[in-house]
Amino acid sequence: MSKNFRNGLFIAAAALFSVLLIAVNGYSKKSTYVLGADFSISGRASFLGDPEAKTVRLLVSEINEKGGINGHPLKVIIYDDEGNTTKARLNVERLIKRDHVIAVLGPSLSGISLAVVDLAKRYKIPLVSAAASDRIIINPKTGKTRKWVFKTPQSNALAAKKIFGFMKKRGITRIAIITITTGFGASGRTQLIKYAPEFGIKIIADEKYGPKDTDMSVQLTKIKGTNAQALVNWSIGPSQVIVTRQWKQLGLSKQMLLFQSHGFGDRRNIKLSGGAAEGVYLPLGKVNIGKLLPASDPQKKPIMAYIRNYEKRYHKPISSFGGHAYDALMLVVHALKAVGPNKAKIRSYIEHTKNYVGMHGIFNFSPTDHNGLTEAAFVMVVVKNGDWAIAK
């Protein structure tokens, strides 16, 4: 009898368990929302793609822990383009045609984003780039906003204007610029030249260097021969560290101030500069300086939560770039929450998003502004005692 009883108990337990299983399944039976992302996780721009992919993975698991988007679980398929344009195009085509994603996040680099924006138009799918160039959202030939493309990083134009506004306050009128010959550097150079006259600033030297260059002392010597009051460097990667070091070593630091673009926004750059970065000015998104923000700032709370969760999961500090991916993903998530998985509706929803508090600023999109940020999204920061400090 006892054997039968035990068997019966086992069958009952099994039945109960399967009922439970069906119930749980039924609860999460809502279809999964699948988004796609292409970042430069390895290769020359891994410092962008790596924190971007990590941020997306962090947010996706947070969203799913809280029950998904209106009960729909969220999945983001992330591909690595290794900083390679051809791979990026293949990845984005694969996301759209084979994985049937609802929207695409990324790419990480300006040059690569420019190479894939036509896919968004052809397949009518929203693409939210994590790269800075203005040409990603505005077709430079027609001057029109690209309908299906958005981007979350602050425009180079905003960074240029923020720097120039600060210079004007300091009475700086003659500057030298040095830029890297990549999409990001070329775009920065164009914006610097375009907006300088508006602020009464004259560019008296215009130097360049290649992405693989390891010595800029020649260009800096040329600049030393001018009477510029400030030097603006526009690049990403190790080259900006070398410029900083050689600015100090060549004695330019006694002659002119050094401004870096927002591309310098990683504390590792301060460390690698080995003391030479003291006194370097740059515009930074607020996500980099969460602790320095006043409690009244509406961005402070979400930024501090992001920093806490990211550091807890990866044991690494956040960087500016992860913040761009954060904003890109969350804009799409908000749209999904409001209008469901309809590509055209998501596009239109993002285009009309107002007062969205993100990591890098408060976004106000419009049909002509697919970035949605103003100069207020930047804070001028100076390197002081090996860390960021708000510049006065």
């Binding site: 390895s42 360049k208 010597t221 190790p238 006694k254 690698l272 080995g274």
Partner: protein, 292 residues
């Protein structure tokens, strides 16, 4: 501080050119040592430079050894890696043709890059300056102490290599192998051992250059290929196989790049160095000091 005059600028460009040029020269020297004993173009030569810099970083920051010991260990490590790679990848292929062997060196380059990336990650690294960071000003031009190290180490390397290949028995034996491997082996010279040695010495020279430039120019895992290209250009300019030519070729390349960037346009300096390479190939296809 006053701005600087044209003469000073020119002086500064030449100093920078000599520094960069001596690194190109060392890469070219490594090319030539292997080319002389095997007629292989070693496409991993630039990666030996990267290996020297990155393994110094590893010994210093991961194992916390003093700087001098880290650098010496890194150079020895590269010597061993060079020998091992030859033994594993080149030695077993007895009758492979040149193209196959060159492709194998390309594979070696990718393996070196990949393993360094796995161990140290993709970020650039620096080393402390060998002797402080205080810049010396000479006639108004700035000379970084690290650049003096780079130039000095290159000069010493050239002198030592010269002595080794012309005065020691082993060196002379290696030279003999390059002149005529068949006769050399008939004279009782172990040709295969000499090839092994040539890879090890090339890796060592590359690593010396890498350790010397890392403090001021930083180093990352994928720096190799660019250095391979520039070093190869320097070797061609100087004449493939000529040791003196390698250094002269490197200096010509470095100085002309630097002068072009300074005086004409910094955006097109790589084009300038390639133009010089083409020019030399038109005028004297065997290079400046090359054998006919």
């Amino acid at each position: 501080m006053d701005s600087i005059g044209f003469g000073t600028q020119l002086f500064q460009y030449i100093i920078t050119g000599i520094t960069i040029g001596s690194v190109y020269g060392l890469v070219a020297l490594g090319f030539n040592i292997i080319y002389n004993s095997t007629e292989i173009i070693n496409l991993a030569q630039g990666d030996f430079v990267m290996l020297g810099g990155m393994s110094s970083v590893f010994f210093l920051t991961v194992l916390h050894l003093p700087l001098a010991i880290s650098v010496i260990l890194a150079v020895l490590f590269a010597f061993i890696v060079g020998a091992l790679l030859e033994r594993i990848a080149i030695w077993p292929l007895k009758n492979a043709n040149q193209v196959t062997l060159i492709l194998i060196t390309l594979a070696i380059s990718l393996i070196l890059e990949g393993s360094v990336m796995l161990i140290l990650g993709r970020n650039p690294y620096g080393l402390p300056y060998f002797t402080g960071s205080k810049t010396i000003f000479l006639f108004g031009a700035a000379i970084f102490p690290q650049y003096i190290w780079v130039i000095g180490i290159s000069a010493v390397t050239v002198v030592v290599m010269n002595y080794f290949f012309n005065k020691t028995v082993t060196g002379k034996a290696m030279k003999a192998c390059s002149d005529n491997p068949t006769s050399a082996s008939l004279m009782g010279i172990p040709v295969k051992k000499m090839i092994l040695l040539s890879f090890a010495i090339s890796a060592l020279i590359g690593a010396v250059a890498g350790a010397a430039i890392t403090p001021s120019l930083l180093m990352e895992y994928d720096r190799g290929p660019m250095l391979t290209i520039k070093g190869f250009a320097a070797a061609i300019i100087g004449g493939l196989g000529s040791f003196g030519g390698a250094i002269v070729g490197g200096l010509i390349l470095g100085i002309s790049e630097s002068l072009f960037a300074g005086l004409i346009s910094s955006g097109y300096k790589d084009a300038a160095s390639l133009a010089i390479l083409l020019l030399i190939l038109f005028i004297k296809p065997s290079g400046m000091f090359g054998k006919k």
